[in-house]
């Protein structure tokens, strides 16, 4: 009976069309309409193992959010020269606020599904939707703060 009720209720429940985006930490505080507007700017792409996502010193335009798969990132910003990023992680966000070119290169090591958003569109979205912008930037600040503390810890350990 309980299962039947749940099934009937599920028929009337509004399907969350942006569930895959909401799983990213940066976007979890956005309301459905803000997510709808954001998703209009995003492109879902599939990459095969061995494909290069971008090369070092390439112009930076796209920020990637990884829905599934794994990517190896090599470059000066990575603590050990290289790092593997995977599900629910992102690429390009730090470079976005630093330079117009990529500081690392990235290669797919396990088939990937990514959400790509143009830096230009993303910045425009943040400016045109201030409420959503604050929610996202708060998460970006938190991420950058954690990143900085992690780097400090590594430097302390090495010292």
């Amino acid at each position: 009976m309980k299962n039947l009720t749940r099934w009937i209720l599920s028929l009337f429940a509004h399907k969350d069309q942006h569930a895959s985006l909401r799983k990213f930490k940066f976007f979890e505080a956005l309301n459905p309409y803000e997510l709808f507007l954001l998703q209009k700017l995003m492109h879902k792409r599939e990459f095969r193992k061995g494909e290069q996502l971008f090369g070092e010193k390439n112009p930076l335009e796209l920020i990637y959010f990884i829905e599934s798969g794994e990517i190896e990132v090599k470059g000066k910003l990575q603590p050990h020269g290289a790092v593997v990023v995977g599900k629910r992680q992102h690429l390009g966000l730090i470079d976005m606020y630093h330079e117009q070119i990529r500081s690392s290169s990235a290669e797919v090591i396990k088939d990937c599904v990514l959400w790509a958003v143009s830096k230009h569109d993303f910045e425009k979205y943040l400016l045109q939707n201030p409420q959503a912008g604050i929610k996202i930037l708060r998460e970006v600040c938190s991420y950058l703060s954690n990143f900085a503390f992690a780097l400090c810890e590594q430097i302390e350990i090495k010292a």
Partner: protein, 353 residues
Amino acid sequence: MKTTRIIFGLFVLITMVLAFMLYRWILDYLLFSIIFAYVLAPSVSWLERKGLPRWMGITFIYSTILMGIAWLTYTFIPELVEQGNNLLELLSSEHSVSESILALPIIRSLHASLTYLDAQVPVLSLTKGLTNSLDMLEDMMVKLPSLIFDNYQLIIGALSFVATIPLIGFFLLKDGNKLIKDFFRIIPNRYFELVIITVNKLNETIGNFLRAMVFEVISVTLMASLALSIVGVKNAVLIGLIAGIANIIPYFGPFIGTLVAVVSVLVGGNTALMPIVNIVIAMYVVQMIDNNIVYPVVVGTAIKMHPLIVLLTVLAGGWYGGIIWMLISVPLVYFVFNIVQVLYVNLKNFDLI
């Protein structure tokens, strides 16, 4: 595998050529609809951000524009009918157009000078040349009403053209984003970022340019209407609108507006020198404000093309497709130049060339 790819590539190519052949008749429609959609897109997006569905936002903007057109028609149609009657009266009156023009002090003194020159060097026959030109102009003016009736099919075609653009524009505004995303879907991963950069840059350049152009047309229309009203020209708003639209053609557009205003005064039967001088001064002031304040501030990244290239482009556009193409040829050449420039820079940055 390679053979299959080549066959598929050929199939796509043939399909594209066939599609182009089928749709080439409506390329004009598509081009103008894209321009129309570009200009309105920011307002629709703004309404969408405020929570209004796109279709509702477009309907709201269309209704507002329609109401504006209805108001303009209601206000100016009676005056235009009167002006048309004046023109018909002038054409059927004893004083022909050429006589009216010859009565102008400037033309009169020019005529006198030419007569004097002819007396000195009879081979020149300059006076005859001037009289012939005026007769040709008169012939053209007299034939104008019959030309309109003879070419009613063209006029109906033009009206259907004007009516179709908002319809195509509606779908472009509503689903344009989806269409662009579908286009991006077929781009291979290797070129995806390059294509995004190129499309974004072009989008920005073209969008800003078109919106700035529309703003400039509106501001020149308003300023010219006001200036011409002050100097007492009839139908100042309509002439201001023509001046505003003609202003799209760099360097040469402003003269067209002034010319239309002067011809309008002549058609009204006024042959005194002062009203014409007033019009020239009024339009000069409008151009001064436009060139020194509106254009640098609004258009910002103005078209930096050599006047000779502009002249040649306008002439080529005129030869190809008449007045409409004269208006759009310069922006079109500017866009193509931009596409090549952006592609070249980015292909180099991505080490593809």
